[in-house]
């Protein structure tokens, strides 16, 4: 069981993280092309940028997961407006 499972959003964050990891794996596959040209260079550059963007998603989810873990140790305190 994930460390995040106890928090209401923990399981969803777990699943989202797994999906994003799987997406990164697909990007690795998308880089395996036997293609040589200027367009291929541009494609690989765009793919690298896309991968960097997905890595930022991973980073954001990791931060979110850290918050969730921290929340495990303390009772949730709502401050409704």
């Amino acid at each position: 069981m994930s460390l995040l499972a106890a928090h209401p959003v923990g399981p969803a964050v777990d699943r989202a993280r797994a999906d994003v990891d799987a997406a990164r794996h697909e990007l690795v596959l998308a880089g395996h092309v036997d293609w040589v040209s200027d367009a291929a260079d541009r494609y690989r550059s765009a793919l690298a940028e896309a991968d960097a963007r997905v890595r930022r998603v991973v980073h954001a989810l990791d931060e979110l997961a850290a918050r969730v873990r921290a929340a495990e140790a303390a009772p949730v305190c709502l401050s409704l407006p």
């Binding site: 928090h7 209401p8 959003v9 969803a12 964050v13 699943r15 989202a16 993280r17 999906d19 994003v20 799987a22 997406a23 990164r24 697909e26 990007l27 596959l29 998308a30 880089g31 395996h32 092309v33 036997d34 293609w35 040589v36 040209s37 200027d38 367009a39 291929a40 494609y43 765009a46 793919l47 940028e49 896309a50 963007r53 997905v54 930022r56 998603v57 980073h59 954001a60 989810l61 931060e63 979110l64 918050r67 969730v68 921290a70 929340a71 303390a74 949730v76 305190c77 709502l78 401050s79 409704l80 407006p81």
Partner: protein
């Protein structure tokens, strides 16, 4: 994928502005199946990111009061653990999975556009060939074959007796009539433009398609027909064309170490009777480099005999076997000579060849993978009929646009592979025969060295060749080997033994 050729007649341009480079490290090549696979992977990645985004949206619903939470509400739901705030940051900030998914879908769309472009180019090539066959020659397959075969054969100087395939055409009376009728009109108009426009290649395909169609058994006209037609013709000659005897003729004195592509091609030129060598001779140069390393240059000349049954294997039979993809005498002889020369498995090799010799060189680079360390191949005026070379081998192909021989493979598409660079000189150089001369290709190699050193494809080949060619201070030992087909009925040649 192809450059526009300048108008040489009215606007003479310097050499550097005229040589065309296709393929190689800086060229254009695409494996369309790979692009399809990559596009599908990008779409799957986008789907996964959208699903991740959905998970996070549903997670927001799990927070108290978060059912319809926007960023402002979520931010105030966090409390001390700040989970809502962080979740809002992910869902509505620049790191939202859905935004990354949009990027990937856009990239997949661009990739799809590129794939469609390549497919369209491929279709155009096929359509052009079909047009050449259909519109120019009508719906008379016998005449088509006769004219196509005649023009192609005449264009490359193939004699009738050297092409048993013509016997098939000649067997059909209608075809024979067509052959006679068009002969006087067409033969004189073959050069230059016809080759340059690719019509010779189209006609060759037409002729080959017909020949395949009339050959016994199931035939598949949808496939390029040159190879099966050549194979059938080679088999019609009978016997084992790969049987050759190899005799070491001894060292040639005074040959300097090959230090450049043009010098390698000059070594090929010197291996011909016109270059001062005996007929049916290959030249192998051992280069002892200043650092103690040893490398080798193997020079293979072109066709020397228009027959199919003589003892010189540099003949039309070998051409048919090479184009047909069956074992041939020159390749077997060169391989045997390499063993006799004592080339080590770890010692880098450059294979250079003109015309038929180029086909042999490229074929050996693929066939000797694992046994010899072939780093570079240099061909001049050669059809492109060989399988892809192994990783680590670079091929430089020199072609003159008015040389009819390179189009004998029947392939009008760009010679466009990552490890194979084709440099084309579009300048007209006079009659067909002159365009194919090895001396002209030596000069073209010098032009390439002088003007294209910075081209990434040429530079990649040069980098591979430099691992073989002799730097200043190198010493060379140059040995020639004579290849001879045995007389009919003679016992097979013994297996080669490496020189100690």
């Amino acid at each position: 994928m192809t450059a526009v050729r300048p108008d040489v007649e009215r606007h003479p341009a310097p050499v550097w502005a005229q040589l065309e480079v296709v393929g190689g490290r800086g060229g254009t090549a695409a494996e369309l199946a790979d692009l399809d696979t990559a596009e599908a992977a990008l779409e799957r990645a986008a789907d996964l990111l959208v699903r991740a985004h959905g998970e996070l949206v549903r997670a927001s619903w799990a927070l108290p009061g978060g059912g319809a939470a926007g960023p402002a509400v979520l931010g105030t739901l966090s409390g001390p653990d700040q989970v809502g705030e962080s979740l809002a940051g992910v869902l509505h900030g620049p790191s939202a999975p859905a935004l990354a998914a949009e990027d990937l879908r856009a990239l997949a769309g661009r990739l799809r556009t590129a794939t469609h472009g390549y497919e369209a180019a491929d279709r155009d090539v096929r359509r052009d060939v079909a047009t050449a066959v259909g519109e120019q020659l009508g719906e008379r397959p016998l005449l088509t074959a006769a004219l196509g075969g005649l023009v192609a054969v005449q264009a490359v100087g193939v004699l009738v007796r050297a092409a048993p395939v013509l016997a098939v055409v000649a067997a059909a009376p209608a075809a024979r009539e067509g052959l006679v009728r068009v002969a006087g009109r067409q033969v004189g108009t073959v050069p230059g433009r016809l080759v340059e426009d690719g019509q010779v290649a189209g006609m060759l395909r037409a002729a080959s398609a017909f020949l395949v169609a009339v050959w016994p058994g199931d035939q598949h006209l949808s496939h390029p027909a040159v190879r099966p037609a050549a194979r059938a013709a080679a088999q019609a000659v009978g016997g084992d064309g790969a049987q050759v005897a190899v005799t070491a003729l001894g060292a040639r004195l005074g040959t300097p170490p090959v230090a450049s592509a043009s010098a390698a091609m000059a070594l090929v030129a010197s291996s011909t009777p016109a270059g001062g060598s005996r007929a049916a001779t290959v030249t192998i140069q051992r280069i002892d480099r200043p650092d103690g390393a040893r490398s080798w240059v193997v020079a293979v000349p072109g066709t020397q005999d228009a027959g199919v049954a003589g003892r010189n294997p540099f003949d039309m039979r070998t051409n048919l076997e090479l184009v047909g993809g069956v074992p041939d005498g020159v390749s077997a002889g060169v391989e045997r000579a390499m063993v006799l020369a004592g080339i080590g498995a770890e010692e880098p090799v450059l294979l250079a060849g003109h015309s038929q010799g180029g086909m042999v060189a490229a074929g050996l680079a693929a066939g000797l993978a694992g046994r010899y360390d072939v780093r570079a191949v240099l061909t001049a005026g050669s059809p492109d009929v060989s399988p892809p070379v192994p990783p680590g081998t670079q091929v430089l192909r020199l072609e003159r646009a008015t040389d009819a021989v390179p189009v004998l493979d029947g392939d009008r598409s760009a010679r466009d592979r990552p490890a194979a660079t084709t440099v084309t000189d579009p300048r007209a150089v006079g009659p067909l025969v002159r365009a194919h001369e090895v001396g002209g290709y030596v000069a073209m190699a010098r032009d390439v060295e002088r003007t294209l050193a910075d081209d990434p494809s040429v530079a990649a080949w040069q980098g591979a060749a430099d691992e073989v060619l002799g730097p200043p201070g190198s010493r060379a030992v140059t040995t020639q080997y004579e290849l001879t087909r045995p007389r009919p009925g003679a016992s097979p040649a013994p297996p080669p033994t490496a020189r100690s």
